[in-house]
Amino acid sequence: MTLSESVGVVDEANLHAASGYPDIRLNGMELAIYTPNSIYRYNVEGAVLSSLELKNNNKRFHRFPVLISSLIMGLLIYVTPGVAADMDIHIALLSMEEEKHIPLSLLVPTIDDTGQMGAEQAISDNNTTGQFTGQSFTLTMKKVKPDTSLAEVFIELHEQGIRLFLANLPAAKLIELADLPQAKESLLFNIAAMDDDLRTQHCRPNLLHTIPSRAMLADALAQYLTWKRWKEWFLVVGRHPRDKAYAKALKRAAKRFGHKIVEEKAWTFVPGARRTDSGHTREQQEVNAFTQVGDYDILIVADEVDEFGEFLSYRSYLPRPVGGTHGLSPAAWSGVHEQWGATQFQRRFHEQNGRWMTDRDYAAWLAVRSIGEAATRTSSDQAGRLKGFIMSEDFNLAAFKGRPVTYRDWNGQLRQPLLVTSPRLMISVSPQKGFLHQHSTLDTLGYDRAESSCKQQQPR
């Protein structure tokens, strides 16, 4: 791209910016243009990497004279060393519009782009590497309405030549896509569905999981509670199938690690408005009455839908801690994590997006970085070759967890350490010391090879 062409790109961006001057930033070999309503990202060739509509954005806009920015862009292209991008690797992220979720706490932001921002960060990381290896990565976002056919969208992307997909979808939709004839030569990364069935029965050769399963999360918590010797649990389960699935994983973990569920109750109150004035008086009464059971060490709550779990801490009849989906929670990622170089990673994300990374963002980052790592090492963009490398002994990925993360060859699940967090600090990281395994201690979390009927798959 020449200087005059780069001016062209900026001019084009200026056209996009219907009101006000755009804010132009250089990020590696990328040019990002922030306008009051959108973010546009271009690679050095002037190709659009992604565009994003912003809602309620509170980014500050510096008013850069466009010409100066163009000059910087031009200079960058002449000064920056490296190879011209000669391999474009396209990745698509598929998601469905979901009902807006209002958190119970005012402190927790409402997030409607979970997953996507993690993928964007990994694209940017991959492209920084790509400037030295001659590879460039682009992300296509498709968010469909619940009544639109996902298969059609998938086939359309397939026809455009895309073979690498991230799926931010529920399990049933995910399997539907993985079973399409067009998906046969594609590679799909599950960044959202935590269903254990996907790891024990319904495995697919073209499907990998970067989001942990519920069993992995429950085992991570149970191992920590073993270390604490908090062995008697009071289990409280929400009314949704997801809550029940989480409770099932907890029961399995309790059995595995020698805990006892001494009380179990279902929370059946139908929630009204998420937040009301004087709401606390009612919650104080409700929880106090609901938790009048025999003695236990810890109240474990299964409320994935986030309807009531937040109400339990400090309100239980007995003075006991709360864990599970709320309180002491197992997670793949959390804003409280700053070990093993995560600080810089967190800062990068927060600066860009004004919020902390979620589990799905992290799962999306892992998926795109897995693709990037495989593409760098194999110099290939073919889904089959990339998968071959990802599943091989040579693959390992640094993921800010203090040890390499890899994929389980029997079910395509990414094995990783999991965090045990409180709302404001990290409490511990599982696997806990002393939980041993003949292959990898990370396989003490979730369904092990012998417990899964999936016997993968591709040659290793």
Binding site: T80, D125, T128, T129, F132, T133, G341, Q344
Partner: protein, 333 residues
């Protein structure tokens, strides 16, 4: 009787020899007085250790989260990356006072001084840059764009090349210090942390913390000639995480800190093989030689101490308690 007497004589003789030997050891050690400086990222201090008595003389308070440290060429000044303060602090080693600060770009982690001591090169983890700072003018000269999360910095003995590693891009970037341009990139294993040239400048050694390897790169062809791997019985390979590297002046041995494995690997450079593992404290990250290279000092982050290794006998001699989470170490003659 005779036998017992002679055995006793032999015993006395042995004691005498041992005594003489230890006097000789003391004498030889007092010849070269030196001081060891250790940064503690949790305590925000620099511990000053006397090389002779191996005692902590003082703990100097500095800015938030001191990590990488480097000595000026005349040995009068210590440059400290105070990462959370987003700058470099300059500590006068006579007065032990911070005299001024240098700009560094955000979150400086590691720094290295150029061959004539005029320029300082700092890795900024937050914005994918290597910052060049003029230490006399106290100004940022320029920034060089590198990979994601730059960290390790190694300067060739002739001062012509800077090798920077980037932790998420997994590369060693060869930067020409005359043109300040990246001229070559060598792909190494996951999360490269430290780059260190051999004294003859012919090789660069790059440690990959998560990959668990050290890549030995030929400086002229920029090809990896050997990937060193480590195996310690009873320790899972994922816990073997190489970080700090020090290479002896005569080019015979390299010492590699292996992080959570709590070991330092001793590598025979001619054979490019590990010859021994030495047990030190937990999360051992960085190390430095004494001026006579008879000892090596390691920082053990989790056990909050410094291990002192006898280089000739390859034995760990002593452990010195320092401030919490020791990170960087340098020795001043």
């Amino acid at each position: 009787m005779l036998a017992i007497a002679s055995r006793r004589c032999f015993g006395i003789r042995l004691t005498l020899i041992a005594l003489l030997f230890s006097f000789a050891m003391l004498a030889s050690e007092t010849v070269q007085a030196y001081t060891v400086y250790v940064s503690s990222e949790k305590d925000n201090t620099i511990s000053v250790i006397d090389g002779e008595s191996l005692k902590v003389l003082e703990k100097v308070s500095v800015g938030e989260r001191p990590r990488g440290i480097a000595l000026s060429k005349d040995g009068k000044i210590l440059y400290i990356c105070t990462s959370d303060a987003d700058h470099i602090e300059v500590l006068d080693l006579e007065t032990l006072k911070v005299t001024h600060i240098l700009p560094s770009g955000p979150d400086p982690e590691l720094l290295v001084l150029g061959p004539n001591g005029k320029y300082l090169y700092a890795a900024n983890e937050d914005d994918n840059m290597v910052t060049v700072v003029d230490v006399e003018k106290r100004q940022k000269v320029t920034e060089i764009q590198v990979g994601v999360e730059p960290e390790g910095m190694g300067i060739s003995p002739d001062g012509k090349w800077l090798v920077n590693t980037s932790e998420t891009t997994n590369m060693a970037h060869f930067i020409n210090l005359e043109t300040l341009k990246v001229e070559d990139n060598v792909l190494v294993d996951q999360r490269p942390r430290v780059a260190q040239f051999t004294n003859d400048g012919k090789q660069v050694w790059v440690s990959s913390e998560i990959g668990g390897t050290v890549s030995v790169i030929d400086s002229s062809s920029r090809k990896i000639i050997k990937k060193l791997r480590f195996e310690i019985p009873g320790i899972h390979k994922e816990a073997i995480q190489p970080v700090g590297i020090k290479i002896s002046k005569d080019g015979s041995k390299a010492f590699i800190a292996l992080g959570p494995a709590a070991r330092v690997a001793v590598v025979d450079i001619a054979k490019l093989e590990v010859e021994k593992y030495l047990l030190v404290g937990q999360r051992v990250w960085n190390l430095d030689f004494s001026p006579d290279e008879k000892r090596i000092f390691t920082t053990n982050g989790v056990s909050n101490d410094v291990s002192v290794i006898d280089v000739e006998r390859l034995k760990v001699k002593k452990s010195i308690q320092v401030g919490r989470l020791p990170w960087g170490v340098v020795v001043r003659p």
